[in-house]
């Protein structure tokens, strides 16, 4: 992008403006969910199942109710009276809020205790007596598809297997033919394990119901407050909750990453309990509940095949996936996309043929299938293609960089139609990879590796050249529960030229208060310091679908720009009136209109704002404000190339990331400081699943990874000193040329790490390792010992 168009004082696009939200956070004055206190508020805690699949024979609340301070025990029977014991998921499946007959995963909600304080509620949980009769458990999705597997969803009419959906994309026949015709074909099973976003703030809510006015107010850790309000109105309309009387407020959010999109049973129980008891109720998960019962990400068993000619020309890609959704399909994908945007799996390469199919199955594990800081299964797709490209390079004895450069979609081929039907908006893949290679000194690293290998030392270099698809999305293809995935902005210029701007999204740390203010500053020339940005309150903000899938800048940011342009159109009429010239005689530079050829004869945007309320032209409506609901014409396709260098201790199997060079291209940048920060964070959430994080289950459905003791979130010590750089290929269809950046690095980093480790071990015959690549896995690979 060229130099900023605005001064630093105005702070439009391209300026590293310090964040407007920071003054409260560095003083401990953020307002997070557990900081909300209401008069007379009581606390809720949840009884959870120790079994992964069991009949509930009885629930006895007597002892709990006898405890001083305990006000109520809520069970499935309580909720059934209001028909609230079941709820819909976003994927048109159903899910228990509280069970009537059986539990289907470990840590499932069984009952809830309401008490005067946190400690009494927890004591009450201990005293609720539940008698279970264990049922056969299935945690392996392959076994779940066997004929004799226990049927988990026997509550659903006609559900006679554990199969949920079949979905496919691409040309099956053409791809099969291309595989037949190719010189080289390779096949590899790749598993991306269950992981958890583990935002440092867990989930929770405060629910308050006024029985006289019928007003329900819910403060809630949600990334999508408006959609939540509509869902509440739809599922609880029959008990008298109506949408105009429901106010959802998403306060400061301590990290979301997709984990705060779903509606969890805890929220619904707390809301129902507040309506039933008339008391304001607070429910806050502890960390173990968060890891054990909230929605997971990934759990994709992929069988990947690639076909190529001997010279390295890639011909076809085929991926068959078994997706483990747990007890319910509670994924948060757009409605028409049960496997998310997995069909981006041809990545940055010019394949002529490709085909993919995904089957979803139920198992006795927590429900879900959310993103983990990625746009609907894009990470799974990128991992598959980037591993397969490296396997092909190894097979052909080609340098993996050379193979990529040979097969990239050329930069003059955009807009590019992929064999899966995507229209990539813009790209320069070769530019990003070459810059990463130059920055890290690729040739020198290859030389160093050879010398080290000769000395018996293990060093690896891994590349990942990813392409994302983000910014959902155009209303033709994308909706959630039928609600189109537009987003919105409402901008009001006050008489003194100050601005209140509200958006349909909700920041969870991305810095929207700053970034959106900069978009307005860019478009109207009003200083960032004069602009207040608000989100997250359904009573005040315009309707929007929320923040996830890197959609805030691509969709709501675009809405902000469009609203500003409407304001500018009106402002021009007012300026013409003030300057007593025709509109055609005016020219705009950020912050003022001046008469062509007479730059001194000008009206600032502040003059215009004052006049809009004090001296507007006769016949024109007063005021200076606009609303935009933006329906993007296409998705945006951010991309980048990452190079990771690892050193491996052959004695312990420990992998150390020595260097990591990330070159990102997210189109035009609004705040370079924030963008770089997003990339640092994303990279860290990329190396996390690559090396450390996994949630697994034994055959009885007992979980490993249910606390921070075993679920290893990277600390500052495991995290390398990130090196970043950028190229800039604007999106041709976004009003600001921006693409979105929050998830690029999470998506792109894991295969760079995996490729580096496999590269370090390739001379020992290692072809592939599933993530997380733990020291044990590496040690076994080096010493040729299998896990048994």
């Amino acid at each position: 992008m060229a130099e900023p168009r605005t001064s630093f004082e105005i702070g439009g696009m391209g300026h590293s403006v310090k964040r407007k939200e920071d003054p409260r956070f560095i003083r401990g004055q953020g307002k997070f969910i557990d900081d909300i206190v209401r008069p007379g508020m009581v606390f809720m805690d949840i009884v959870r199942s120790p079994y992964a699949h069991a009949k509930i024979k009885s629930i006895n609340s007597e002892k709990a109710l006898a405890l001083p301070g305990v006000a109520a025990v809520i069970t499935g029977e309580t909720l059934k009276e209001y028909n609230l014991h079941m709820m819909p998921t976003l994927m048109s499946d159903t899910q228990m809020v509280l069970p009537l007959e059986k539990v289907c995963y470990q840590s499932q909600e069984v009952a809830a205790v309401v008490a005067t304080d946190r400690y009494s509620a927890a004591d009450g949980v201990e005293l609720v007596e539940v008698e279970y009769e264990p049922l056969p458990v299935v945690t392996d999705p392959f076994k779940a598809t066997a004929k004799d597997a226990p049927i988990i969803r026997d509550d659903k009419e006609g559900q006679d297997s554990n199969h949920i959906f079949h979905w496919e994309s691409g040309d099956k026949k053409g791809t099969a033919q291309a595989f037949k015709d190719a010189d080289v074909t390779l096949k590899q099973d790749i598993y991306l394990p269950r992981i958890h976003v583990a935002s440092i703030e867990t989930c929770g809510c405060v629910s308050e119901f006024d029985s006289v006015t019928g007003q329900l107010t819910v403060w809630m850790t949600t990334q999508a407050p408006h959609a939540i309000r509509t869902v509440l109105a739809l599922v609880a309309g029959h008990v008298g909750l109506q949408e105009d009387k429901i106010r959802v407020i998403s306060p400061d959010i301590g990290g979301g990453f997709g984990g705060k999109v779903p509606v969890y049973p805890g929220y619904v129980i707390a809301i129902a309990a507040s309506v039933v008891t008339g008391l304001p109720i607070k429910w806050i998960e502890d960390r173990r509940e968060n890891l054990q019962a909230d929605s997971f990400a990934r759990d994709y068993h992929m069988t990947c095949e690639i076909a190529a000619d001997k010279d390295g020309t890639m011909k076809a890609l085929r991926i068959k996936t078994l997706a483990d959704h747990g007890y319910a399909d509670a994924a948060c994908n757009p409605s028409k996309w049960p496997a998310g945007l997995f069909s981006i799996c041809t990545g940055s390469y010019d394949f002529k043929n490709a085909f993919t199919e995904v089957d979803g199955v139920y198992t006795n594990k927590p429900p879900g299938g959310i993103a983990y800081r990625c746009s609907f299964r894009v990470t799974e797709a990128v991992h598959a293609i980037e591993r397969m490209v490296d396997m092909l390079a190894d097979d052909l004895d080609m340098d993996p960089a050379e193979l990529r450069l040979k097969n990239f979609i050329p930069s003059n081929a955009f807009p590019y139609k992929s064999p899966m039907g995507w229209e990539y908006d813009s790209g320069n893949y070769e530019g990003a990879l070459k810059l990463a290679m130059k920055n890290i000194g690729y040739e020198a690293l290859l030389k160093e590796q050879k010398e080290k290998r000769d000395r018996g030392e293990l060093m690896g270099i891994g590349i990942s050249s990813f392409t994302e698809v983000v910014g959902a999305g155009n209303s033709k293809d994308f909706d959630i529960l039928g609600i189109k995935m537009f987003d919105s902005s409402e901008i009001r210029i006050h008489p003194t030229g100050k601005v209140t701007a509200r958006f349909g999204t909700k920041s969870q740390g991305q810095g929207h208060e700053t970034t959106y203010a900069q978009i307005i500053a860019e478009e109207l020339g009003i200083p960032v310091s004069d602009i207040s940005v608000e989100e997250g309150d359904t009573d005040t903000a315009p309707y929007g679908l929320g923040t996830y899938a890197s959609r805030s800048t691509p969709v709501a940011g675009a809405a902000g720009a469009m609203a500003c342009r409407k304001i500018r159109d009106k402002a021009k009429k007012i300026a013409a009136h003030l300057l007593e010239v025709s509109e055609d005689d005016l020219e705009w530079e950020p912050g003022k209109f001046s008469v062509k050829g007479i730059p001194k004869k000008a009206s600032t945007i502040q003059d215009v704002a004052f006049a809009a309320y004090t001296n507007h032209p006769q016949g024109m409506e007063a005021g200076l404000e606009a609303v935009s609901y933006y329906d993007p014409p296409n998705m945006t396709f951010p991309f980048g190339s990452y190079i990771c260098v690892v050193d491996i201790d052959s004695g312990t199997g420990e992998v150390k990331i020595r260097r990591f060079m990330a070159v990102d291209d997210c189109g035009n940048i609004i705040n370079p400081m924030i963008v770089e920060g997003q990339i640092h964070g994303g990279l860290t959430m990329g190396i996390a699943p690559a090396l450390l994080e996994e949630i697994s289950y034994d055959e009885e459905g007992n979980m490993t990874g249910g606390s921070f003791m075993e679920y290893l979130v990277p600390t500052a010590v495991e995290t390398p000193h990130w090196e970043t750089d950028k190229t800039c290929t604007p999106s041709p269809h976004h009003p600001l040329g921006a693409k979105g950046v929050g998830e690029s690095a999470t998506v792109g980093a894991p295969p760079a790490v995996a490729n580096a480790v496999v590269d370090a071990l390739s001379h020992l015959g290692v072809k592939h390792l599933d993530i997380p690549i733990t020291p044990e896995k590496v040690w076994r690979a080096i010493h040729k010992r299998d896990a048994t």
Partner: protein, 160 residues
């Protein structure tokens, strides 16, 4: 449940209450006294969001009983700003060392403990110094820079 009467000096003010023996210090700080800058991110001493200084030493207040702080001094994030922002607070803002802001108070308190002991730490020492505090947003590099910013500023300015 047995109770005790305790007085804890929080940020220079004596705070007294009759508390249950089992009350955690973090709840005493947050719920009894409304100082909500100290956060809870786990309850097993792993995440460090609840870090405060107890007699000048960083502790995770989710695993300290309030009664253990009886007669002692606690400093929370709310006690960091004097007439001006503490250089650590300034550093976090200048170097973009925070995103969602949830881990930030604990991160600042751990960094304070580190700089009190070691005014001029290396990058490696900073990384180990904050290794008991998890951050999911920033990728740590800008937190390291924020601590370096504060270290430099504190060494330039004579101590009060």
């Amino acid at each position: 449940m047995a109770t005790q009467s305790i007085t804890v000096n929080i940020n220079g003010e004596a705070k007294s209450a009759e508390v249950e023996d089992r009350l955690l210090l973090v709840h005493f700080i947050r719920d009894n006294h409304g100082l909500t800058g100290t956060h809870i991110g786990c309850d097993t001493t792993h995440c460090g969001a609840c870090t405060v200084l107890l007699d000048g030493t960083a502790v995770k207040s989710c695993t300290v009983f309030a009664v253990q702080a009886n007669g002692r001094e606690v400093t929370t994030i709310e006690g960091m700003e004097g007439e001006a922002l503490h250089p650590l607070q300034e550093g976090f803002m200048e170097e973009h060392g925070l995103q969602c802001g949830f881990c930030t108070p604990g991160m600042i308190m751990s960094s304070k403990h580190l700089l009190d002991k070691n005014p001029n730490p290396t990058e490696e020492e900073i990384r180990w110094g904050i290794s008991g505090n998890l951050c999911r947003c920033t990728g740590y590099l800008n937190i390291v820079k924020a601590v370096q910013y504060a270290s430099n500023k504190l060494q330039e300015t004579p101590t009060e």
